[in-house]
């Protein structure tokens, strides 16, 4: 496992199941049992109807690139040496969007609408980070 020099997520009670699941290679999103809406990022209440009837759902991990940018300049250690890299918003099949990087491809080959699937990179013993790569 290489040294991880990017920022690491902080974990709170409401987000722990997400990160625990990432460690097992599964991407979780949330669905409200009261109103039926999906949501991302995870939180302790339903952002739509404000109920507490939140269920964790395993996402298919498949989606499409909603938009992206190829980043050529970022002063933060861990990213400064990664340029050019692709910062993207991916829309999951379930209909919610999440920030990510598109990896395992030429940054210049990424397009809006491109099918992608989740892949995990182990950062520490506790944290694995979900990224997306072109769908195989």
């Amino acid at each position: 496992m290489p040294d991880w020099n990017k920022p690491l997520p902080s974990i709170s009670g409401e987000t722990r199941p997400y990160w625990d699941s990432c460690r097992r290679g599964q991407l979780l999103i949330q669905k409200c049992d009261s109103c039926g809406e999906y949501q991302f990022y995870p939180r302790g209440i339903c952002a739509n109807c404000w109920s507490n009837d939140i269920q964790w759902i395993t996402s298919s991990g498949k989606g499409t690139v909603w938009t992206f940018t190829v980043t050529y300049q970022n002063g933060t250690p861990g990213f400064a040496e990664d340029v050019p890299y692709v910062l993207a918003l991916v829309e999951l099949e379930e209909g919610v969007r999440m920030f990510t990087n598109i990896v395992e491809c030429d940054p210049r080959s990424v397009t809006i609408g491109m099918p992608v699937e989740v892949t995990f990179v182990q950062a520490t013993n506790q944290i694995s980070v979900p990224y997306f790569k072109p769908a195989g």
Binding site: F40, T67, V70, L87
Partner: protein
């Protein structure tokens, strides 16, 4: 019934001319600006009972500023919603004046972003000065190397995808702002540029090139805002706050259409209160953190339809003498952008409404009504929008 449109006026302004001030503190720049703006109004410290300020450094709050200037305001507003905070402040001052809680306030801002070498647009998470990510939303976002410019570039990318907007059209915004800056002796960059110059320059975050991004400077300023009663005795004729609206826009639990920005909500109450239409607007100050910010804002303010911003900003429409002159000081793209720029929108709109440049090419002809729209935060994640409409008698 209170006449809202003649309840509150901008009566004094000052823009600190500095673009680089390594020897000055933020508080000193603010203090100097407040003093000069009160001189401009013909008022003194004793006349001021309100203080409104925002800071990107989080330590220069209204509390510290009141201490520095030895003021004891009875109305304090520290609303900090990014670069457009000052349009919110003006709206809040109006509320307090109408409620009878405020007679005369100063709105002020300063920053030493340039001499402090703050990478406002490309610093990544380090731009906040601390690498620790909050559980939400940072840990689901900053983890991926967000930059401010990247969060705007993503919106530009999708705008191009959906509507066929081109880099050349975005460049038109930068070219128009530089044209205006060439008439502003205080502007950081004054040499004219062409569309080709912009599209052939370095890409910072695709599809945005370096000149699509605002400059980074030091600077500051102050606005004196007062009730109609106070305004009657000031040196300049009042610039009335005719209308105001504010809004926030965000990810919407991962489902909101990010192509619509806060301006789509905030402009409606502002126009309604002012009782004017888009045709009545003689000039506009549109927060130009990036060229895409201007294009999206003009669409969502309703100056053109969604997707037509690329055409709208082309052909010189935004230049003085064009259909809708914007950012006649050169804007953030060419004049100054010390971390937050919203206060400078109010300053230049006031100068234009005072006809301060009469007889020179910088004056917008017959300028009676101006619109200012401040955007704070990032279009690709979450941001605020404050619209104010100003007018002269």
């Amino acid at each position: 019934m209170v006449d809202l449109k003649h309840s509150t006026a901008i009566v004094g302004i000052h823009e600190h001319v500095t673009r680089y001030a390594p020897d000055k503190s933020e508080l000193q720049i603010q203090g100097e600006s407040v003093i000069k703006a009160l001189e401009d109004a013909g008022l003194t410290k004793k006349d001021v009972d309100g203080l409104l300020t925002a800071s990107s450094s989080a330590r220069n709050t209204g509390l510290n500023l009141a201490d520095y200037l030895d003021m004891y305001p009875s109305f304090v507003d520290n609303t900090t919603v990014g670069g457009g905070s000052f349009e919110f402040h003006l709206a809040h001052a109006l509320n307090a004046i109408v409620a009878g809680r405020l007679n005369c306030a100063v709105i002020t801002y300063s920053s030493t972003a340039r001499s402090g070498s703050v990478s406002v647009g490309t610093g990544g998470v380090a731009r906040f000065g601390h690498p620790r990510l909050e559980p939400s939303p940072d840990s689901f976002e900053e983890l991926y190397g967000l930059t401010t410019v990247g969060l705007y570039a993503m919106i530009a990318q999708r705008h191009m995808h959906l509507y066929g907007t081109t880099s050349e059209q975005l460049a038109e915004v930068a070219v128009a702002m530089r044209h205006h800056a060439s008439m502003n002796p205080e502007a950081l960059f004054r040499n004219p540029i062409t569309v080709e110059d912009v599209v052939n320059s370095r890409v910072i975050s695709s599809p945005l090139h370096l000149p699509d991004c605002c400059v980074i400077t030091d600077g500051g300023g102050a606005v004196v805002v007062a009730s109609a009663e106070v305004a009657r005795n000031c040196r300049h004729q009042p610039v009335w706050v005719l209308g105001a609206g504010e809004a926030v826009a965000h990810q919407g639990a991962g489902k909101r259409d990010l192509m619509y920005i806060a301006a789509a909500q905030s402009h409606k109450p502002a126009f309604e209160m002012a009782g004017v239409t888009h045709k009545d607007i003689d000039m506009a100050m549109i927060y130009d953190s990036f060229t895409i910010t201007v294009l999206e804002t003009l669409e969502d303010l309703g100056f053109c339809r969604k997707g037509e911003g690329g055409d709208f900003v082309s052909g010189g429409r935004l230049k003085i003498g064009g259909e809708l002159p914007i950012n006649t000081d050169g804007g953030g793209l060419s004049s100054n952008h010390p971390g937050m720029r919203g206060i400078f929108l109010l300053l230049e709109a006031t100068r234009q409404l005072r006809h301060q440049f009469e007889g020179t090419p910088r004056q917008v002809a017959d300028c009676n009504i101006a619109l200012c729209h401040g955007t704070g935060g990032a279009l690709g994640s979450r941001h605020s929008g404050g619209t104010v409409i100003l007018g002269r008698d």
